[in-house]
Symmetry: D2
Subunit: 301 residues, 4 copies
């Protein structure tokens, strides 16, 4: 297994599609090459922003391989595993490993919501981690799943030798603090909301996996570096620039909004797969206004 680290910013890369709606691996390569210069810790393939749920098994492997191939060797590559059964999640982790991922970011199962007790979730992650050839991160994203994995459950799972961290996209700062407090040192808490990046780092988060980092990777890295350097004024100021962009391209307009912001900043965004719809003209104008308002893109027309 490769040596890798999780200290810093990892964008959950969007998946570009060509005019026929097929994965555009060339565009993905171009994005990765652009990102390679930004000071990122690595990349997440097949996260929520990567439209993992819209891809076939073959496409999933292709996306991981493309990212791994074009990332620099120092970049960590994490692959999302979005499955409902334990056996499918294990297969997903194995496929991710085979395609070159360093670690697997495994979403909580979420279809049979009323059955998703903390005990079931703990058993699920332990079983997946037992069988996974690569280390596992727990993925908590209740706004998409309707399921919450609690800090106490995460802390319990942190004792498993093959579970190395959590990505928490809940936006629940109190819960993130609890996880940081309860989990052992070395367990990696990665925040998943751009709007609370700096406060999370300050409380001890190792890093972040942020949709907004697909559009504004440097600004996210600079928040991270300012926080690490103890330059609180600068971290707060950058956080305030990032927050409105983070909000509109995630909770607000979702993947189509994020891809539009990427198009505006010189990256390959493009359309999301249906049923996600292109932005309306007025929403596109809102994104443009927010991008411009950040002051982070001086070259932006």
């Amino acid at each position: 297994m490769r040596d890798f680290h999780l200290n810093g910013i990892l964008p959950p890369l969007t998946t570009p599609f060509d005019g026929g709606g097929n994965v555009d691996y060339e565009a993905l390569r171009a994005n990765v090459e652009r990102y390679n210069e930004a000071g990122l810790a690595g990349y997440v393939a097949l996260g929520s922003n990567g439209e993992a749920v819209h891809l076939t098994q073959d496409e999933r492997s292709g996306v991981i391989e493309t990212i791994r191939r074009h990332a620099s060797p120092a970049h960590t590559v994490i692959a999302g595993v979005n499955e409902f059964s334990t056996r499918a999640a294990i297969n997903g982790a194995r496929n991710a490993s085979a395609a070159g991922a360093d670690a697997a970011l495994v979403i909580t199962p979420y279809f049979y919501k009323s059955q998703m007790t903390q005990g079931l979730l703990a058993a699920f992650f332990a079983e997946v981690a037992d069988a996974s050839p690569i280390p596992v991160l727990v993925y908590n994203v209740p706004q998409n799943t309707g399921v919450v994995i609690e800090p106490a459950t995460i802390a319990k799972l942190a004792a498993h030798g093959n579970i190395i961290g959590v990505k928490d996209s809940s936006g629940n700062m109190g819960a993130i603090c609890e996880t940081l407090r309860l989990a052992p040192a070395g367990f990696k808490v990665m925040v998943g909301n751009g709007g609370i990046l700096y406060p999370s780092l300050l409380m001890g988060a190792a890093g972040a996996i942020l949709g907004v980092a697909c559009a504004a990777p440097r600004a996210c890295v600079e928040v991270y570096e300012a926080a690490r350097a103890g330059d609180h004024a600068r971290a707060r100021e950058l956080q305030n620039r990032l927050s409105p962009l983070s909000h509109i391209v995630t909770a607000g307009l979702g993947v189509p909004g994020l891809k539009a912001a990427m198009d505006m900043t010189g990256l390959m965004g493009g359309a999301a797969r249906a049923p996600l719809m292109p932005l309306s003209d007025s929403d596109a104008a809102r994104v443009k206004a927010v991008v411009r308002g950040t002051g982070l893109f001086p070259d932006f027309e």
Copy 2:
């Protein structure tokens, strides 16, 4: 295309697994043969109770084929399509058709919840129905998906020539009444909650797709027949027998509870796939007490 109808009760068949956790097609065949005598209108493969989300593509085809092969020719076979992208849902409908399904029961997409507007849902179903070789039913199951498709949207979709009905498992009787009121005659509203079977039929539902019908098919058929015959006293009395069983094997204990009730009543239930867990002893005892309490299974020890 085969001629088929939706007037009556269709159980969403559970998928039996063998000791190794693989699909047990023989057990599925045995269940279908038992059900063939019960007066059912047909079967639903790959619904929520069928653990569609836990099956591979090959298993999904195998389940549909097995049900079609062992159902009597007069039985309608509907196949669930549980996908997130429009293109995957279209493929799912095509595969269902190829495997012998008469119609496809297509779930609302549900991962990017904040983007699931009524307009998006309408466009999704229209596009799937345009491409599907078999008629489509809309599947509304917010307790699993966190997404609601509204009566006005369903009524609009009812004008599409290849969308023939809806399965509504929301339990929202007011919304079901609205759909019945707004949709044209001939559009099939199938209720998906055993606890409101009789009231729904009375308001004009064509039939029902009920988890509890996997355990108590005859009682469900008798409610249907009593309602059709205008024997309200009998329909109500049977409804009251069914309701507690329906509750515990769906909202209460889910698929493991339903499978336990099937085991108790001479059918092939067995374990669900992980991460769903076997019932605790106390939950199994509760199911047994409820099964016995219905008075519907005189041979039950």
Copy 3:
């Protein structure tokens, strides 16, 4: 204590205000006199539609007294009690009795939501009923309170000698059926959603307390009478006329919408108290279209 009954329709009377925002008791009297001819079982004062939460203690007593004075002696008068502490709820029931109410409709407490366990709710209602000089009905209205009292809790409370029924406005038909199944004969289940009036009566509800009955009392009474007479076709047809009106004046536009519909049908509606706002012109036009669309008001311009 007066003899009274709960079999039939009781509108939860709106509270009219004059131009200065004070309670207009004359307008209330005029409404009651109009309603006296409609075949109603009685009236509810100080329900959600009566803006109980917007009235002072003195106004609450005045409203009850006015309704009692102008109702015919055969009409039952129920008074809402909307309080948070047990002692205040007991005082509310005593005041209601003193002002002439036959029974008290006591809302579940709802501020400290995370503490509102079923055990706490059971203890609360038992303690209030112990001290109340008039019989108590439980009021379940989760869309306003965020608190649900479950069928099993209601059924347990039904054993209390001074708890005679429940008004269930949840719209959860399955739960209403459960309450009807679990509670003893004689316990009065009053449905609180116009959209499910007929199905609820069919399952055994004694009657209904319906906002829409403030605007369309005769139609509600006719649904009740048709259901009692076993004229299912007529009951269903009237239900379908009522449903859209019920929806827009309750869940849709709330008290201001209901009052607007009353104004349109010759009753004294008027403005709600702030912070509730007057209808926009477009919302008023929607109400007018729905009122006309029911076909229940032939004299409506």
Copy 4:
């Protein structure tokens, strides 16, 4: 009007009751005198933890007067206003002023939830602030109300000359950051969750109104002082001590839990008013373990 400030920690004082369930003003006085030595900025009377909803109008005035009389002159006294109608909220602010409060903390109205649009909330607060003789703070507490006032609405209200701040108890750190970003300098954002005290201060919150400060006032003040002094390591360490106590006495066990923790630490807690129930023995033991686990009370047996 007195000069007062909001920079620091204000506990939302609990209301003690005597054995007969009446307000125990002597116990309240004793608590205030204890708190006067703790370095607090002031006190909030009649907040959620003060059981405002369980008190009569006379008791509310008595509580404010008692706190004002026994606080030191340098302490700010804020009074909660928990009403549903605009006119009642205005009366509440006037009564608070008459009883000696420096400012009014006015809760969002919350009964007619479906009508509580941002426009309605903005109009409500503007109208109350127009008429209030003392400055107004907006109180956002969705876990109790089911209503959210959004950052953009708060920022708009910040332009009103008599609206000086917000208490945000939502726990939504991203929203708190947004409010801080959007509101003008000088607008006071007071955080209402002990679990996110330090991150909120770091992002610019002026201070905090924290239930946990009723039990652990010094520790809260020390977090505030460490944050102001830029001693991040100490602030974080104290935050981690406070968090579990904050959680169990607010979201966990509510007012009865907070009062139990006060009893354990030498303050006058006592019972909450019914329907809130005394802690079970096992819950009391949990509180004791958490209090001891903080290490903040060296004298604790």
